[in-house]
Symmetry: D2
Subunit: 285 residues, 4 copies
Amino acid sequence: MAASTATLLIHSPDQPGLVHSVTGFIFNYQGNVLHLDQHVDRESSTFFMRVEWSLDGFGLPKDIIAAAFKPLADQRRMTWELHFNDVRPRTAIFVTKEGHCLYDLLSRHEAGELPIDIPLIVSNHDTLRGAAERFGLPFHHFPVTAATKLEQEQRMLELLATERIDTVVLARYMQIISPAMIAKFPHRIINIHHSFLPAFAGARPYHQAHERGVKLIGATSHYVTEELDQGPIIQQDVARVSHKDSVQDMVRLGRDLEKIVLSRALWLHANHKVLVCGNRTVVFD
Amino acid sequence: MAASTATLLIHSPDQPGLVHSVTGFIFNYQGNVLHLDQHVDRESSTFFMRVEWSLDGFGLPKDIIAAAFKPLADQRRMTWELHFNDVRPRTAIFVTKEGHCLYDLLSRHEAGELPIDIPLIVSNHDTLRGAAERFGLPFHHFPVTAATKLEQEQRMLELLATERIDTVVLARYMQIISPAMIAKFPHRIINIHHSFLPAFAGARPYHQAHERGVKLIGATSHYVTEELDQGPIIQQDVARVSHKDSVQDMVRLGRDLEKIVLSRALWLHANHKVLVCGNRTVVFD
Amino acid sequence: MAASTATLLIHSPDQPGLVHSVTGFIFNYQGNVLHLDQHVDRESSTFFMRVEWSLDGFGLPKDIIAAAFKPLADQRRMTWELHFNDVRPRTAIFVTKEGHCLYDLLSRHEAGELPIDIPLIVSNHDTLRGAAERFGLPFHHFPVTAATKLEQEQRMLELLATERIDTVVLARYMQIISPAMIAKFPHRIINIHHSFLPAFAGARPYHQAHERGVKLIGATSHYVTEELDQGPIIQQDVARVSHKDSVQDMVRLGRDLEKIVLSRALWLHANHKVLVCGNRTVVFD
Amino acid sequence: MAASTATLLIHSPDQPGLVHSVTGFIFNYQGNVLHLDQHVDRESSTFFMRVEWSLDGFGLPKDIIAAAFKPLADQRRMTWELHFNDVRPRTAIFVTKEGHCLYDLLSRHEAGELPIDIPLIVSNHDTLRGAAERFGLPFHHFPVTAATKLEQEQRMLELLATERIDTVVLARYMQIISPAMIAKFPHRIINIHHSFLPAFAGARPYHQAHERGVKLIGATSHYVTEELDQGPIIQQDVARVSHKDSVQDMVRLGRDLEKIVLSRALWLHANHKVLVCGNRTVVFD
């Protein structure tokens, strides 16, 4: 587990010999492949691949691997990312008033389950300051009104830049993220929406679900894009409900979905198991 | 299992003493309650109840029970239905070309799992005639074009009337049911839609699901009402999919959902465990 | 939600008129039934019932209801319990070193989800003292060795008596509970076992599961009885695993099952939805 | 879907360069990899891989591929199987009296879902002859008593040999398979057991489950080995039950699990997605 590994996420137009050439690159420098998952989408003739290999005895220093891989990638027209398992994404958690996702993430983090660093918590309300402080984490309160929203977002962006934040988790953050922030964190803002998207996008999904009389409620974790609740889906799950469940019961049952789905999405993201292609994800789990 | 029972399905404005008065009616005629499930929706102050009792030694003949119960029901402003477990709904199954739901229903029926009679199969194509005939069931082919649709539906309605059909099951019947037929079978036409409604209503739901990149596909069984795919939901379920699954894989995996969800909805309906209130169902399972 | 209610849990030999007589008792004092769930196990001719009614305007003071109900219960040979929703079980949480269930319970409690009081945390290790203190809860450390076990358990029992503890939750407490403590808390000690019981009882269930090559792992919450992992099951759930999951992955995935299953069992218990009959539970959910 | 492909299933001691060398073999003959799934079990240092490639324009005729691959496989100490997607396993289905799994398999087969041929149905009872004949399949009745069991199994084996049967599916066949037959079909006899193994192995699992009061029932599909219900597990699933469910209800609900789990296991087997290693399976799904 502690062993140092590198991971390549690749997609490209399909062509023969892609796996062979990538594994050749690894093998030529004495790397040993630990996991390789590859798939061709035959409809679009797109090649997807995730490969993780051990850096024990690998013949290239970490800071040169990308440069060494680039010529091959260029020649084969690959879109690619290189990650190292000992570089932990610096992750900011955004919250509003509900604490279940926050507590869940913090206790997982404390247990060593999530390979991330959490330099700070951001909120538009002061409600969860105590929760953050109990875990020894800086809590930044940015009260937002219609009038101050742009200015506050600008201040948030400065804070995120100062803290070299790489990933933003919206753990039931009840504000719409502005295009400026989305542009700074492309496919690096993870939201949890409390419905089985695309059903019940927008406000008050449990009320909508109750009104429609569905027999299952859901939760969806996705990357935030400019269109509200329309970004690439990372993870979803559902739970059974019945006529006995009021909206409040759905809220209670839904909290369990939300925290499991969000933490699972973050785990996948932080372990570099998610590749975005168009408006869909490829999840190598 | 073979013992004779009666079932009352009731909803009414909530008021004290409702359970007591209904169970009093049963007790006064020496009936023994086998299952009673009751619920008050506190938001709308609506009372829902299903009670099933043994007719062994019950002090009223079956054909008088409804008349005997009516005064109490009227006084308490109940909406109610009375059913007997030895009166099997006469059920017509409508199909088009895909046979998985039909086979599933017929093999369940043969195994004695569904308390219904199936006097006939109806189809707008001749494809599944062989399947029906293998199970010894009359197969009626009504080819439908835009020009003949109304006329053919009229003929279907006559057939259903002649055969004293009580319940219609749309087992992947790929035609929109006309308002005239819906009016004849209010909350007695059960459809299976191959998505997790309200997501992906309408045509080609697996294509829609694939396009959106959802991580779960679903199926929904509902009563047919005039608004397409908007009727009261009886049963839903989902299955996990991944980026590896093409639309064709979703179709294959979805068939299992469709047949389980449809047969389960029919089982609940045929056992008088479903009560419709507004556009929602109360399912006493 | 805040409204005051009473709940009766009843089982008895089946006989006609039981529902009617109990609802009669409630109705005679102007109580309005909110939920009634009743079931007859036909094999054993046993009657089970849960009824919850509003105390708004109820004609008996709370402290007299039990005495008033007793004659009817005696006459009908009922085994019964009476609970009030505003009497919150005083619950002690026992832990060892792993904190995921503890954090989960404490954050749910803080969110108002669990109708219990938590006067104290007990542990055989000091590891989770910080977690308890963050939530402002007294933490009692009882180090246990083979030599001191009996003496320490005696001290624990005294503490539980002093604090008037009603329910004990073993939130991954890695010690076998002695018969003396079990006798003091009959069907009031709730354990979480990290397998789908009866599979993989005893030690190291994830190792057993990995060794056997199962495709699903599970968790089981049950009341503690003298036979290890054999008590009445309250709640179970499972999650899918594959050959890619090592024992450590199972441990990680299993934590989510454990916390959801344990908290759900405690929620059911604390809302008086669980009735024990023999070695099985009847769960009115 | 119709395109011709080859699949290699490989396991071996782990060593660097394995993926590279296998994909090199494919690439050198102009094969294009469609799916590659590879995994290293780090505990046991075992390498597992499934690779499927297109035979369109592949530079070796099908009947020479194995011989051409052998030197590489020997040098790397691989255990391997080579399959072609247009060689359909000749599959015998064994049944007793219950038809739900049989109907399910036959209707899937008719729909083109299962890439197998079904030359015959075998049974120790005559009950399902009609079901087989409806689908136009030869039905062979081998009545078995304690006295005739060996002799009848010998006759069955002769029939299976004559019909060049490759895979045997026990679709609720209620007889223990003798070691002689198991030896002839190593990891090619697929059974469905109606419990979540290892819980409730042996006879009457639903009775055992009811007695224990579990909240979920299960089904398990596994390869048959000499130890009863102990073979490598291919697929498992569960469904929720409650105190309201009698043994008969569990039987009814369990049938759905059984047919889904068995057909899924057969689909995985027939698509060469299952690799057996020791007493566990690696399922590349």
